[in-house]
């Protein structure tokens, strides 16, 4: 069965410090991984997906199949990065449904 684990409910970093939001997954096949973000009073939106291999708002995430991880990283956190971040896995066979982790609330301290 699919499972996405985000071990940190809350994460606080100082502005300008590096940030890493952890995501581990359990899936028997070859998954597609995403990071979604929800800023205060805004709707959930896609931040990035592993197949795109792109950097969005300075964030990157690398799929590590050996460690079954997809950690989100940014070298220098900004105050506007404060938000709720969800890691999600898409089942690439059959239903193509999204499975979300429980989320990590990132607070960037000025």
């Amino acid at each position: 069965a699919q499972r996405v684990t985000q071990p940190e409910k809350l994460l606080s970093v100082f502005k300008g410090a590096p940030v890493e939001l952890k995501c581990n997954y359990s899936y028997s096949g070859s998954p597609e991984l995403f990071w979604y973000v929800q800023y205060s009073r805004q709707r959930l939106q896609l931040l990035l997906r592993h197949i795109s291999r792109e950097s969005i708002k300075g964030f990157t995430a690398d799929l590590n199949k050996g460690e079954t991880s997809f950690h989100l990283k940014k070298p220098f956190a900004q105050e506007e990065d404060s938000a709720m971040y969800y890691c999600a896995l898409k089942d690439r066979t059959g239903a193509n449904n999204l499975f979300f982790g429980t989320g990590t609330r990132l607070t960037v301290i000025p």
Binding site: E32, R43, Q45, L46, R49, Y86, G103
Partner: protein, 115 residues
């Protein structure tokens, strides 16, 4: 573009009452999703539509929940009767299709409180 529209944004009802949520997806999006998000949790899929067909409703509690997407555009999710444990945010999302690379676009959600 307005994005995915949901109404109402907030709803407070007493237990055992019925409630309905409405969703209008982005124009041209064939796939529509309803998610349930409990406090402190990530969204969980309830049902997925391809046009007017419910292609995955395996997580929908069918004893009290029902959904429809007549004409393959907007959709309604209903709970009857509501229970205290149904208090949550109900999210609607849409995508152009269910392809592997299609992004899901989420609505603002409906926050339900059952008293």
């Amino acid at each position: 573009e307005a994005g995915v529209v949901q109404s109402p944004r907030y709803k407070i009802i007493e237990k055992k009452q019925p409630v309905a949520f409405w969703c209008n997806p982005i124009s041209g999006h064939n796939t529509l999703y309803w998610y349930l998000q409990n406090l402190g949790q990530g969204p969980e899929l309830l049902i997925r539509y391809e046009n007017e067909e419910a292609v995955d409703d395996s997580q929908l509690p069918k004893d009290r929940f029902s959904a429809e997407r007549l004409k393959g555009v907007d959709s309604t999710l209903k709970i009857q009767p509501a229970e205290l444990g149904d208090s949550a945010v109900y999210l609607c999302a849409s995508s152009p299709s269910q392809g592997l690379t299609d992004t899901q676009y989420f609505g603002p959600g409906t926050r339900l409180t059952v008293l």
